[in-house]
């Protein structure tokens, strides 16, 4: 056998090596401080104090894994199922004075903020485009944003979100008006309580408008989660990650980024396992959700404009 893993002969508990997948042993649960001991023997990264590589949130041990969510009746936060019932949204522009434009968005417990910098000269010569500006997006989760602590370093999940954000925003920006320059958008998720990507898109488009970047349209985001025959719009963290009680037929999540005035979809992502009909209906539901958001965003933006120039007189 090429890769026959064999029991390690001397399976000492703390042999100076972090436990790897291929070591074997009885069931153990290490408390934090004990595990720390190991790491003093290792060639350490002197730049930062590192916690143990394997630690888990106590919540995993306290409750049953994968709590089963009901698929009937009202949702945990009192919203209705099978309705385009989005959480009330609070938005405000111009939070960060250093940035060209910024926005803060709160939907239920999901809180995130976005800053826009530029247009400025591109950093890298080889990426300069003579005809078109460049958009860079960066989306990060604060380590405390999720129930489980995350890392400050951008993981592949964050990169995926950044990419989705990029693809959702790019069609809306008049990039041809900004040749040789780049526009930077960065989103920080402060608290993740579901539908983060959708709200990040909305928040970022607001920040771009606040920065005075020319856009064809605003971009609004909305998510939904299908669970068997019923669905929930703008799902919360529990609804997104929880396990369903019903069979796994027709289950999955969908996020849509939508340009309301131009009637164009600029971002679309789904996972799970759904039929074409469900998916099509889901896209329509999300579009409806975006329209519900539209007046709120418009109002916030006009408010910001008015605030910046309260009495614009005829010039």
């Amino acid at each position: 056998m090429t890769n026959s893993p064999c029991p390690h002969p001397d399976n000492k508990p703390f042999s100076g090596q972090p436990e790897k997948e291929k070591t074997w042993g009885g069931k153990r649960f290490r408390a934090g401080p004990v595990a720390w001991v190991i790491y003093f023997n290792m060639p350490t990264d002197t730049k930062r104090v590192r916690g143990p590589e394997v630690s888990q949130s106590p919540s995993l041990f306290s409750c049953d894994p994968a709590a089963v969510l009901p698929s009937k009746g009202p949702r945990a936060d009192g919203r209705r199922r099978d309705q385009v019932d989005v959480r009330p949204v609070f938005v405000r522009c111009g939070l960060v004075s250093q940035a060209k434009g910024s926005a803060y968005l709160e939907a239920g417990n999901t809180k995130l903020m976005c800053c826009v910098y530029g247009p400025r000269e591109t950093d890298r010569k080889d990426e300069t485009d003579m005809k078109c500006g460049r958009l860079t997006t960066d989306m990060r989760f604060a380590p405390f944003s999720c129930p489980e602590r995350g890392s400050w370093i951008q993981g592949s999940q964050d990169k995926d979100f950044s990419l989705m954000l990029h693809e959702s925003l790019q069609p809306a920006i008049c990039l041809h008006k900004y040749p040789r320059s780049q526009i930077e958008v960065s989103v920080m998720v402060l608290e993740n309580s579901g539908s983060v990507l959708a709200h990040a898109v909305t928040c970022a488009s607001l920040a771009l408008a606040d920065a005075g970047i020319e856009m064809y349209d605003l971009v609004l985001g909305c998510s939904m989660r299908q669970d068997g025959t019923s669905y929930v719009v703008d799902p919360s963290y529990m609804e997104e990650n929880g396990c369903s009680s019903v069979s796994c037929e027709n289950q999955g999540g969908l996020t849509v980024a939508f340009l309301p005035s131009l009637n164009q979809i600029s971002g679309l992502q789904s996972d799970g396992d759904m039929t074409e009909e469900t998916l099509t209906a889901g896209v329509r539901t999300c579009i409806e959700g975006c329209y519900k958001l539209y007046p709120v965003i418009q109002r916030a933006l006009t408010k910001a404009v008015r605030k910046a120039a309260p009495s614009q007189s005829e010039s």
Binding site: K100, M130, A209, E214
Partner: protein, 191 residues
């Protein structure tokens, strides 16, 4: 005044001429900015419609624009500058430009010496002639009477006074230095 956000349909293209901050799509004019809608009659048949913001929208140096810049380095072939203002609008971010030797003045181009035209630290009025290519920066020219050095300091550190189109004098030491001096137009004086 009416407020609008990006994507708002403002009017049909038959009613107005699109100005700034708007775009044309399928025969209608839409807003591309969040701001106030402004209709202006400029003697044309149709009014010009544009969307303006309180703060000047982000300007980028464009071909034909007059820019104010600061010289950062010089070599025999060109001078490198930082663009500080476009027109009278300050830029938030730094943009780099190049004034090639042949673009310093309009006549006797082959006799130009960059060292006798600019020095690092000079404030120069110039015009954008091209966005340049991938390797180079914005290309600028000073080949007009109104363009060239407006502020320069002598070796003694004093701000010099122009005495001809190609010379400036230090008020302290009375020594003369060569520059491509601009004949400053009153409208740019405040810049």
């Amino acid at each position: 005044m009416k407020l609008c956000v990006p994507g708002d349909k403002l009017c049909s293209s038959e009613d107005c001429i699109p100005g700034t901050g708007v775009y044309l799509r399928h025969g209608y004019i839409y807003s591309s900015l969040a701001g106030y809608v402004l209709r202006k009659n400029e003697g044309e048949e149709l009014p010009v419609i544009s969307v303006v913001r309180e703060t000047e929208t982000q300007l980028l140096p464009d071909v034909g624009a007059i820019v104010t810049c600061k010289v950062t380095s010089i070599n025999p072939r060109f001078a490198k500058v930082h663009i500080l203002y476009v027109g009278s609008t300050p830029l938030k971010d730094r943009f780099r430009g190049t004034i090639r030797k042949e673009d310093v003045r309009a006549t006797e181009k082959d006799k130009v010496e960059t060292y006798k035209s600019f020095r690092p630290g000079d404030i120069v009025l110039a015009k954008v002639i091209s966005l340049g290519d991938v390797q180079s920066n914005y290309l600028l020219t000073t080949a007009e009477n109104e363009l060239g050095v407006v502020v320069a300091h002598s070796e003694a550190g004093a701000q010099m006074v122009p005495i001809s189109w190609c010379e400036m004098q230090c008020p302290l030491t009375h020594s003369k230095e060569f520059r491509k001096v601009a004949r400053v137009q009153p409208e740019y004086l405040q810049a």
